[in-house]
Amino acid sequence: MAAEGSALLIAVVVAFPLYWMVLSAFKPAGEIESGEPRPWTLAPSLESFRRVFEQREFGRYFLNSLVVAGSVVIASALIAFLAATAVTRFRFRFRTTLLIMFLVAQMVPVEALTIPLFFLMRDFGQLNTLGALILPHIAFSLPFAIWMLRGFVKAVPEALEEAAYLDGASRSRFLWQILFPLVLPGLVATSVFSFISAWNDFLFAKSFIISDTSQSTLPMALLVFYKPEEPDWGGVMAASTVMTIPVLIFFVLVQRRLVSGLGGAVKD
C-alpha cells in the first residue's frame, strides 16, 4: 500500500541523520575524509570515541551535564507539583491572575534574559558554577510544567480528597502519599521538557562559564572538536553520539507516558 510504503520511507529519512551520526562516529578517520561518503563502514573503529574521552575533562563535562539536568528535573517537578496543586484544588484571590502570569511566563524569550542573568549571577558569585546553569533553568521550566501538570491534578477526583480527610489523613499526607503518586505520570511527561531544556543548554553555558572550564557542560565539549574552518568530524560525531544517547534512553523510557501526557496537557 502507498501509505505503508511512504510511512516507512519517511521513517528512514527522519532517522537518517541519527544513523549518519552514529555511523560516522565509528568510521576510521581515513574513511571520513576520503570524500567518498559511504552509508556503511567496513572497518568500524573506536578511534574517534577514544579521542573524545582522551579530551581532558570530557567525563567531567558529561557528569556536569547530568548534574545540571538532574537537578533541574527534580527541583522543577517538586515545585511545579505544589504550585499546580494550589491553582487547581484551591480557590483564592488572584488565582486566575496567577494562571495568566504562568501562561505569559512561558512566552518569555529566556535568551533575552542572558544579560541581566549574567549580572545577577556575577553579583551572587555564581558565575563559573553549575548553579548559574541550574537556577535559571528551574525558573524557565516551571511555568510550562505547572501549566501541564494542572490537567493531571484536576483529574484526581475530589471525593478522594474528602475520603482521605474523613479517614483522618493530614493535608501533607494527602499531598505526598495520595496525590503525588497519582500525578506521577504527568510529572514524567513534564520532566521530559525540563530535561531537554537543561541538557540542551548552550547559551548559558557559553555565557556564564567563562573562566573555570571544569564547570562546563557537554555542548562546550562538543565545540572542542567543531572548529568551523577545520572540523574534526569523527570527533564531533562521536561526541554528539555520546551526548544524544542519554536523552534517547530517557525518551524511550518515558515514551508512552509522554504521549499520554501530551494528550492530558493539551486537553485544557
Binding site: A7, L8, P17, P39, I79, L120, Y226, M243, F251, G264
Partner: protein, 319 residues
Amino acid sequence: MAAQETAEPAVAGRAGAQVTRKPPARARQRGDRTPWLYLAPALVVLGGLLVYPIYQLGLISLFRYTQAQVSGGEPTTFRGLGNYAELFGDPEFWQVLLATVVFAAACVVSTLAVGCALAVLLTRVRALPRLALMLAALGAWATPAITGSTVWLFLFDPDFGPVNRVLGLGDHSWTYGRYSAFFLVLLEVVWCSFPFVMVTVYAGIRAVPEEVLEAAALDGASQWRIWRSVLAPMLRPILVVVTIQSVIWDFKVFTQIYVMTNGGGIAGQNLVLNVYAYQKAFASSEYSLGSAIGVVMLLILLVITLVYLRLLRRRGEEL
C-alpha cells in the same frame, strides 16, 4: 489515558464552560493560607530568576552600559530611550528583524504542515510502519539542538557529506549563500520540532470517534477534505497549542543559527534577533543595546501571547 479525552473540549467545550463548577472542597475556608504556602517556592524562583531579570533587562536598556561601566571605569549614565533610537536608526536592526520574522514564519508553517500530514499518515498505516515512524520521530525530538546542528552540517558538508554526493552538487557550500544557509537551518529546525506536533496531533486524532471519520469517508470526502472540514475544527484546541508553541520556539532559535552559520553567517547575513542580541552584548560588550533588542523580542512575544489569550477567552474556556 488522557489521550482518549483529548477531543472533549472541542466537542463539549462551549457547553461545558457554561456549567458553573462546584468550588473545590478546601476552598470553602476563606483566608486559608495553604495555597500560598504551596505556591511560595514557585513564586520565589520565578520572581528572582524571571521577573527580576526582566525588570533589569528593561533598566539596562535605558542606560549606557558597556565594558567601561561593567569594569567600573566609567559611571553608568542614563540614556532614556537613546539606545532604542540608536537601534531603530540602524538599518541592520530592521533587516535582522525582518529576517527573524520571515524565518520563524517559514519554520512554523513547515513544521505544522509536516507534523499534521504525518499525524494523519500515522492513523492510516498498520502497527509496524507506525512504530517505525514514531521511533524515528522520537529520536529526532530527543536529539539536542547542538548535536542536531553539527550532524546536519556534516550531512551537507561540501567535501565529506553525503547530500551533495547524492544530489551531484559537487562542492557546493550550503552555508555560503544567505538563503541556502537559512534553508539548511530550517531543515534542521523542522526535523527536530515536527515530532512534537506529530505526536500531539496524532493523540488528538485518536480521540476523535471512529464513526465520524467513517461517515465522512463513506460520503466520499477526500483525505484533504476530511482534514479541513472534520478533523481540523475538532482538533482546534490542540492546533492552537502546537502553533503557539512552535511560534515561540522558532522565534527564539539560537543554537542552530549560532552553530550552523558560525555565529550569524558571513557578514551577519544569517542573524536573527537572538543571535544579534548575543553578539551585541557579549562580543561587542554593548550590553545596553543587547538589552534593548531583548526588550523588543519580549514585546513581540507578549503581543503574540495576548492574541493567544484572546483566542482562548473567546472560546469561553475557563482557566
